[in-house]
Amino acid sequence: MRSVEAALIALIVAFTVAAALRYQPPPSPCLQCRRDASIVAAWLTMWSANQSDLERLAAEANATLSPSPGDYTAPIVVWDNGTPLFYTVGWRP
């Protein structure tokens, strides 16, 4: 085997392994999971009066305001002096 072939094989293997490791499966079509995420978001909207309130409550609910690709998401609103501020909560079962 020539060194150029060995290098190409190493490159392809590295690229494939990197792609497989970076791969994040999309959320499964779990309706109950989506509903649960929606209920978490509703609970956060119900109890939050401002952004710091929201961040604290989201942490308590094991939810995140910076959802990852695999998270189930739902909208939240916090009103601030007549302006609606929307957030997206991410949650995993």
């Binding site: 085997m1 392809i12 909207t45 119900m46």
Partner: protein, 194 residues
Amino acid sequence: MTRRRGQAALFAVALLSLAVLAYLYAVSAARVSIVYHGEAEWMVLLATARHSLATNTSLDTLMARLKPVAAEQGVWLPPVQWIVYRSTNGSGWAYTALFYNTSLGWEAYFAASARYTLLGTEYDGLGGLWLVYNLSYVHLYKLPQLAYPVAIYPEPLNTSCSRVYRAGEGEWLVKLRPPCVVRDKWGIAVLGVP
């Protein structure tokens, strides 16, 4: 011979890599996409009604502000109409915002109410007059997905002119020095004495 083996190995590895990548792509693309609209979107409406009560801004005005922002953010809102009921008397107040869609049979509401009774007066060491009230304060959140409303009992906040003591679930003992307005964390005026 060695050269051919090397080429064969390279070909095999490339083929295997393609198979792995094609599998990952197929798994990603084959998933069924389900869009769920429900509790979160309805609660957006109820939170808007609560802000309307807190800021004394008409619900029509706030809904008109909400809709374009929601559309911009890609948030679906239930197609509803709304009506607001308010009542006040000497012993309390009540507020209800009802969201409904008669053709689809959807209904949700936010209701808040406070009932208070003057128990007596007190003088502090500086001769200041304090009024002592018994207060009941509750919020109700009814979503179409739930059979019963969710009741929560927000805490009226202490201010420089008031002291709030918990007396039970949704029950408070409030001492205040007029003029004073006791609010909750959303800014809703729970109890005010001019």
